[in-house]
């Protein structure tokens, strides 16, 4: 069994090495923010920066994706962390959910 920080595959020539964090060995979830007409764009950007620690450009990119496409996948995480982020986002009253990543 590999340690949490080790890759799950043995490196070999010509094969792309795939690594996954230990937390992601179980089911993986997308944390999604959905568009609505009530949350201010500047507020959504601010919340993304606070919750994920992103810089302005990254937070704005996701905010615009929510605004223009109706939703944005913010992060992909294991169940506990995804749930934590949904709680954080909903405390700010953003429309956020966690959806199983197929």
């Amino acid at each position: 069994m590999p340690k949490p920080s080790e890759p799950l595959t043995v490196p070999s020539p010509g094969i792309i090495e795939v690594t996954r964090p230990h937390d992601h060995l179980g089911p993986v979830f997308h944390v999604i923010c959905w568009n609505d007409p009530v949350n201010l764009m500047v507020y959504v950007t601010h919340v993304f920066r606070k919750v994920f620690g992103w810089d302005e450009a990254r937070a704005k990119k996701h905010m615009m994706e929510v605004h223009e496409r109706g939703r944005s996948v913010l992060v992909q995480e294991g169940p506990e962390k995804a749930e934590f982020y949904v709680h954080q986002l909903q405390q700010y009253r953003l429309q956020a959910t966690m959806e199983p990543a197929e």
Binding site: V42, K50, V86, H87, T97, M98, E99
Partner: protein, 155 residues
């Protein structure tokens, strides 16, 4: 209202008298709307998702109760002070976040009470007094949010 500066880990805002009174009223009467059931997922119907949703509901209810307690404190003399010609609001970074959450709870709560309209137009106050009051609150809370986030010097 405008942010004066962020120094020594404190945000300082300048408010006109009418703004200070509006903010006090908003916070004194928080929450204006009942809580709305929150969803954890749109597609996951497994038992775990149902359990997660129950936890989310409980966590949000506790958080809202805490916001209600904080709402009174945030307009206390340690935070909102009357000066000679204006008012000053002083907040720690975490207090600014709480105030933003309170204001956005008001904003989103009013929107939900209005049955989630796609456009945020202010209705005729004589014909639709209840809707007018909710929409006015929604916009007032949004205005304060904007000022709390805007960088120093911007009104």
């Amino acid at each position: 209202m405008k942010q004066l500066r962020f120094r020594e880990n404190l945000f300082r805002f300048r408010l006109e008298r009418v703004e200070a009174l509006q903010l006090k009223q908003l916070l004194a009467n928080f929450p204006f709307t009942p809580p709305v059931p929150a969803r954890i997922s749109k597609t996951d119907s497994r038992d775990e998702a149902w359990e997660r949703e129950q936890l989310l509901q409980e966590s949000l209810a506790e958080h809202r109760a805490e916001l209600r307690r904080q709402a009174r404190a945030l307009t206390g003399p340690g935070h909102l002070m009357e000066l000679k010609t204006c008012w000053r609001l002083t907040l720690l970074p975490e207090e600014r976040e709480l105030l933003l959450q309170i204001l956005n709870d008001i904003r989103v709560g009013c929107w939900q009470a209005l049955e989630r309209p796609a456009e945020l137009r202010v209705p005729n106050p004589t014909k639709y007094p209840r809707q007018y009051a909710l929409m006015a609150l929604l916009h007032l809370a949004g205005g304060f949010e904007h000022h709390l986030i805007a960088p120093p010097g911007q009104e």
